[in-house]
Symmetry: C2
């Protein structure tokens, strides 16, 4: 091939997409609506407004508009760290001695260290536009909380983050980044909320959980004048904002005249994967092109591959609506893997529907093999990957090695969602040979399923 492909394809700022792409518009079977856990009735935008910003509620239920314009203020913020590069992994290809062409879309070049900022800035913008004083949220590993803190600092909004207590104590640096951006960070469960006090009373000395932190953040949002709750994954609105990843990826590939054969992303709640694949999936849904689209989930939390496609709570505290999704049960306890962003029992309803309808594949990877892939990648490509991202790297390498067997020069594209600077405890375990793999037993799975609520009366 005589055509010269650069190491990194950067779009110009004028090429940053002006609208997000809403894949739901092209889905024949739309994702099922959220339902009220008490009445089992579908929730419309107005039902969601006590909790979420008004404009975001509209986006949440919008199954029709293919494109939704990105407001100029958000585009200006995007210009500070986007377009993100699409990188040709020449050095990794050489190391693997594969004829495959490997590309990765790198979303870690901003202080939050991940793609989460793409949606955080949008949610902060709509909160500001609505005249709110501030927003509340929960954070586990801390990437979402950091992204939201940065976004709130930019729009001069108050930001209250409830951070799972065990992470608050184990990851003081994550906490300090958020404070540096002006957020208040509270260890959850706290004594500031009714639900927090109740949990502290019931389980003295508990380290907290994401489910508990969600409950606290929602309570504060709904009981404070001028506040709303925001969430960094799973929701349709989040996948909409994250479509910027896929739109840029596709534009960059078009620019160098290349077409993806396989698109690979890690899957936790679905925000990165849904964003990366959006425009490719759109072409596939419209019958304009075909792609292999592969979700990689941790073997210890296999929502797609071992879960059930049913209505379930999004949180362990059962304060959220029910969503129809692949789920392991809201009380399934994922073993302590280091890719905290993938430790979620459920999955985006959009991705769940697409997987159910056969538009994408899903595979699992064990954490030790993911860290091995991350280290191999880091040593030749330079970037230290987040543990979440390492799942996509693992499968990208495996696919590239298959190409070596067959001699095919496939174009493999994967999402490198973020950096691992705050995950070095995990790398240390791996470097010391002390990292273990955890696989749920059949009993663990059955225990999780046993708490899925009965929604057999629901029609969707």
């Amino acid at each position: 091939m005589s055509k010269e492909i650069p190491y990194k394809v950067y779009l110009t700022e004028n090429e940053i997409p002006e609208a997000w792409y809403n894949v739901r518009a092209d889905m024949k079977t739309k994702p099922a609506p959220l339902i009220n856990p008490g009445t089992h009735e579908a929730m419309g935008a107005s039902d969601l407004e006590p909790v979420f910003c008004a404009e975001l509620c509209k986006q949440e239920v919008n199954d029709d508009d293919r494109y939704i314009e990105i407001p100029e203020e958000i585009r200006n913020f995007y210009k500070m760290y986007r377009p993100s590069p699409l990188v040709r992994a020449f050095c990794l290809e050489k190391k693997l001695d594969t004829p495959a062409h490997i590309y990765y879309k790198f979303e870690g070049n901003n202080t939050s260290g991940s793609h989460k900022l793409n949606s955080a800035i949008a949610q902060a913008y709509y909160a500001k536009k609505q005249g709110l004083k501030g927003v509340t949220t929960e954070t586990g590993a801390g990437q979402w909380g950091t992204a939201l803190s940065m976004s709130c600092a930019y729009f001069d909004l108050d930001c209250k983050v409830y951070m799972v207590k065990v992470s608050y104590e184990q990851k003081p640096f994550r906490r300090e980044v958020m404070r540096t951006y002006g957020a208040s960070v509270t260890a959850s469960p706290s004594m500031e909320t009714e639900v927090g006090r109740k949990i502290n009373e019931e389980f003295p000395g508990t380290g907290g959980s994401l489910g508990c932190a969600i409950s606290e953040a929602v309570e504060v949002a709904t009981h404070s004048e001028g506040y709303r709750y925001v969430l960094g994954s799973v929701l349709n609105q989040v996948l909409l904002h994250q479509s910027i990843i896929g739109l840029e990826t596709k534009a960059a590939l078009d620019k160098i005249g290349e077409k993806a054969d396989i698109i690979i992303g890690c899957a936790g709640g679905g925000s990165n994967l849904g964003g990366l694949i959006a425009p490719f999936m759109g072409e596939k849904l419209r019958g304009e092109a075909d792609y292999r689209i592969v979700a990689v989930e941790p073997a210890s939390c296999p929502s797609f591959t071992k879960g059930k496609f049913v209505y379930d709570f999004c949180d362990t505290g059962h304060v959220t609506p029910l969503a129809k999704m692949y789920t392991l049960g809201s009380e399934f306890m994922p073993s302590p893997i280091h890719a905290g962003g993938l430790r979620f029992h459920g999955m985006s309803t959009i991705l769940s529907q697409l997987y159910h309808d056969g538009y994408m594949e899903a595979v699992t990877a064990k954490q030790t093999e993911c860290f091995a892939a991350a280290e191999e990648f880091a040593r030749v490509e330079g970037i230290l990957p987040a543990p979440e991202s390492s799942h996509a790297i693992r499968v990208a390498i495996d696919e590239a090695l298959k190409c070596k067997e067959t001699g095919e020069a496939k174009n493999i594209v994967f999402g490198l969602t973020g950096t691992g600077y705050f995950d070095l405890v995990a790398y240390q375990q791996f470097n010391d040979g002390k990292m273990q793999d955890f696989l749920p037993t059949e009993e663990d799975l059955q225990a999780g399923f046993s708490h899925i609520p009965d929604t057999s009366d629901v029609k969707f």
Copy 2:
């Protein structure tokens, strides 16, 4: 002004400079040579070869060639993380309400988190080309050690890092990054070297120092077949490699048709500052253009502003040659400021000569005012700066505020050398209002000066 300036100016990969710029070629008064501390005789390339790679020794003493070609292998590595963006700080300007135009060259978008990688990859390349097995070095805060580990992983070279024991213990994450890239990291003083054993015997339980770590790294390099010692700052060769920063900055400004009025960089050993200003200084030396060039040093370690321009040791262990530079004395103990990269008693000989000859200014900044500037910057521009970089931000903001007074729309360019992800203990202190400023007393300074060796017989 109708011309549209983008947020970020990226050069294309084809616009990455093909040669480093050697500012010495344009200096009327050349920097003084290194001298042997015993004989006080000037050291030529061959005198340095037992310690450093041969090609790097040639670069060290090359005062004549204006351009030195960047080998293709290094250029290919540069393509993985360069060109780095020149960013127009629109949001900071708006926040400050200044007519000034502020630009920053951001060198933190690589896993080492700083500009250090620019020279590390060059030094690793020449070591590999010479057929060496590996290199040794010391690291304090860890940015240089990380950069060198990444570079050695890329060229499959062994990398032995001696890390100041107190940092080794306080910064386990920095250590793990290096291990992830395959380096061996040893707490210094160790029991592996003669000098280490001696220091451990003399000062049981000592936390070590950079001076001691240098001594260990040099001992191992000179006593091991196929090893050489490498250094991340101060040396002429390092400033040469770092000229890539300034060359790209100038090319980006030229591309948008802008000319810098003030160029600001933080100054520790001089690697970033020397690199950033190189081509601008070249124009100034040749009389082709004029610029205000400002070095910012920490108030607690004021080499330029309070030091003497004399021959001195580069390390506290007195194993290095003597360099003619602005120095506070090799036994001057800088107070514990958080910008570890700026805690050096001396300064690059090139920059020392240029400052002595009136081609640049120097100012000091206190760490609390630097962290305040860093936080103000982070909240609007997104990036969390390294404590070192915050010194340049402080002065850039001050200059922009002066422009507000005078109404001048000056172009202010500063170097944002790196990110602060591994410096969050310092941010925490600042956020908690517990950070203090340390200024050396007249007594501290005199104590430092009292250990400067007598070199009155030297002619240079």
